[in-house]
């Protein structure tokens, strides 16, 4: 490692706190009360974050936050483009761009009633046999309109799929218009397949907005594949844009960010560092760096908490000790507190 010692010219500041709680729920309730207290002192929820080693460690806290009516957003879960319904939309656009994209064909064919893996494979084999392209100018192989009209022998719903794709296949149809028409076609499928389709529809509305910013499908698809634009509404229940919210995040997802007040929960040996990392020096050092990253997110208040009595199902052990990264650090650096 390169030796370095961070310093500031700012003076003052409170000592970071190490807070032990008898169990998980007391830890959660401590965090909730402290957040409300800090907010009373004038620190908005936006300036506070609760960080944790693994996503599941915040479940109990999430319940307590909901009970206390504190709005929050959680980062480090599923990504927008990884949700099934957004992937479906992307698949339609992908076959328009690259008709040899077998992966996407399989996906959108199997969305149809009565189409299983075997039928899908038959159709795909058929697609690959057809003449797809007309010689393009730039050496590219974009499908000709004729290509989409060769599949009249199939069942009605497969024909309808090809018909929809044909209608929007021309390069003169913008990505926004393509998406709009495909969404019309897709909506009944969405409703039939997902119980929570109203929520998912919001994601697709967001998807529609995104596509409207693009002039061509190729760059839209590249961008979506290379970097998801935003978290999904289904996976992350977010309040309206004007409302204030607290951030819950895995440490990995908190990289590069900062808040006035930061809580690090579950600083518990066996959870942070994780049980599986303790066998390897390299992994322990990586966990240590994670703790370092977490601590350095805080501007003014840093509270590290751990529950003292956690049963670990996998090992059958009861976890009771604070994380090795903070255990034994003197009171001059880290002020010990107990939740009663």
């Amino acid at each position: 490692m390169f030796y370095k010692e961070l310093f500031t010219h700012k003076s003052g500041g409170n000592l970071p706190q190490l807070v032990s709680a008898e169990n998980e729920n007391l830890q959660s309730r401590f965090v909730v009360q402290k957040i409300l207290e800090l907010r009373e002192q004038g620190i908005p929820l936006e300036e506070m974050a609760v960080l944790f080693r693994s996503s599941f460690l915040s479940f109990d806290l999430e319940i307590e936050l909901t009970k206390a009516n504190i709005p929050f957003r959680k980062f480090g879960g599923f990504k927008f483009v990884e949700t099934a319904h957004v992937k479906d939309m992307i698949a339609y656009l992908r076959v328009l761009e690259n008709p040899r994209d077998v992966v996407s064909w399989n996906r959108i064919l199997m969305l149809l009633d009565g189409v299983g893996p075997r039928t899908a494979e038959k159709v795909v084999d058929d697609i690959l046999k057809r003449k797809i392209t007309e010689p393009g100018s730039g050496g590219e192989s974009l499908p000709s309109t004729k290509f989409w009209m060769q599949f009249n022998d199939y069942s009605d719903n497969i024909q309808k799929l090809f018909g929809t794709l044909k209608d929007v296949s021309s390069p003169n149809v913008t990505p926004g218009e393509k998406t709009y028409h495909i969404l019309q076609y897709y909506e009944p499928i969405l409703r039939a397949r997902y119980d929570d389709h109203t929520k998912r529809k919001k994601d697709l509305d967001m998807f529609q907005n995104i596509t409207e910013r693009y002039k061509d499908i190729g760059s839209l698809l590249s961008d979506l594949a290379l970097q998801p634009p935003n978290e999904s509404i289904v996976d992350v229940e977010s309040p309206g844009p004007e409302e204030e919210f607290l951030t819950l995040s895995t440490i990995h997802s908190a990289k590069g960010l900062e808040w006035n007040s930061v809580f690090i929960i579950y600083a518990l040996e066996g959870r942070f560092p994780t049980m599986r990392s303790v066998a390897s020096d390299e992994e322990i050092e990586e966990e240590r760096r994670l703790m370092y990253v977490a601590c350095t997110r805080a501007k003014e208040n840093l509270m590290i908490t751990y529950p003292m009595n956690i049963y670990d199902r996998e090992s059958g052990m009861i976890l009771t000790k604070p994380s090795r990264f903070i255990q034994g650090i003197g009171e001059k650096l880290l002020e010990p507190w107990v939740v009663e």
Partner: protein
């Protein structure tokens, strides 16, 4: 008087601008270490930027500085961890100096690879309109081939698609033989190594046949293209005369190789990062890249940013202490 030696290059030589005519007062707006990083121009540089030490600011000012010196914006390549980060930095540089900074080539390794590969696709047997598979797409393909090869019906249990993807991906990203990864993480499948290799070959073939690339292919194909094709390597190295890499602690072996190849003509590389914040080993990044940069680039200058603008001293004291208790030796 200090001398500024121009490297011999094909067409565009650096139009030297006298420091007095610079529009930004760099010395006043930056601390000493930041100033040193910003005004270091030629040759390899490693900037160790601690948490909250103004890393972004330093990169933004260096972009502006290079542009002010007369470096053509599109000769600067800025690679960042997210696309948003690059856009933000270039936007800030444009506000600081002028709109020329928006023409700097910026993005992630993957988006840069995508851009280059679309242009040279035919040289590696692809068409320019290839599809990019995300992880779950790639896993679907693997499970399809697994079934096609009838590995799913064998008596012995065969790894599932997730394990296969992880194995192939890590093998590529860390340049580690599959056998080694199997031995450490999936010893139960070690005896199936030859089948696993066969499936991998079929997967590679399938992607090529159908004009598909997974995330790893983007990087690996770029590395392959520029290591094997001298003309392309030369063209790119001439084009990107000043290379900057942000978050270097989270790059993987292939990415480090790409940087070395791109810089082979001029060695004008500034990598910025914090070894103490390297946290992505689980997906193939390696802290070794940043730690061994001074050995890879022997005459490299190391600059450390240690003044923190974010936290109070008590918080920094704790953070410093946590690192100090680590077991890795220090430079």
């Amino acid at each position: 008087m200090k001398k500024f030696t121009l490297k011999p290059s094909a067409n565009d030589t650096l139009q030297l601008v006298h420091p007095r005519t610079l529009t930004i007062n760099y010395k006043q707006e930056l601390n000493e270490a930041q100033y040193e990083a910003v005004t270091s121009v030629d040759g390899p540089h490693l900037v160790i930027a601690g948490a909250g030490t103004g890393k972004t600011r330093t990169i933004v000012y260096r972009v502006a500085y290079l542009v002010e010196l007369g470096v053509k914006p599109d000769h600067i390549l800025l690679l960042t961890f997210t696309r948003k980060a690059a856009q933000e930095m270039l936007r800030k540089a444009a506000i600081l100096l002028d709109s020329r900074c928006e023409n700097v080539s910026g993005g992630t390794f993957h988006s840069f690879a995508n851009k280059v590969l679309r242009k040279y696709a035919s040289l590696i047997g692809y068409e320019a309109n290839f599809t990019i598979l995300d992880q779950s797409d790639a896993e679907d393909v693997l499970s399809l081939i697994r079934a096609r090869l009838k590995y799913d019906t064998k008596e012995k249990r065969f790894p599932r698609k997730e394990a296969l993807y992880d194995l192939y991906s890590r093998s590529l990203n860390t340049l580690t033989p599959m056998k080694e990864i199997l031995a450490v993480d999936y010893p139960q499948y070690l005896e199936l190594e030859s089948d696993i290799q066969t499936l991998h070959k079929a997967y590679e073939q399938y992607k090529k046949q159908h004009n598909l690339m997974d995330y790893d292919d983007l990087l690996v194909n770029l590395a392959r293209l520029i290591s094997q094709n001298e003309v392309v390597r030369g063209t790119l190295s001439d084009r990107y005369k000043y290379i900057m890499v942000d978050e270097y602690q989270d790059t993987n072996k292939v990415q480090a190789e790409i940087i070395a190849l791109l810089a082979f003509k001029h060695r004008n590389v500034m990598v910025v990062g914090d070894d103490a914040q390297s946290i992505y080993a689980f997906r193939g990044s390696t802290i070794k890249n940043i730690l061994s940069f001074p050995e890879e680039f022997a005459d490299c200058k190391v600059i450390k940013l240690e003044e923190n603008y974010r936290s109070t001293q008590p918080i920094l004291n704790l953070a410093n202490e946590i690192l100090k208790r680590g077991s890795i030796h220090r430079k």
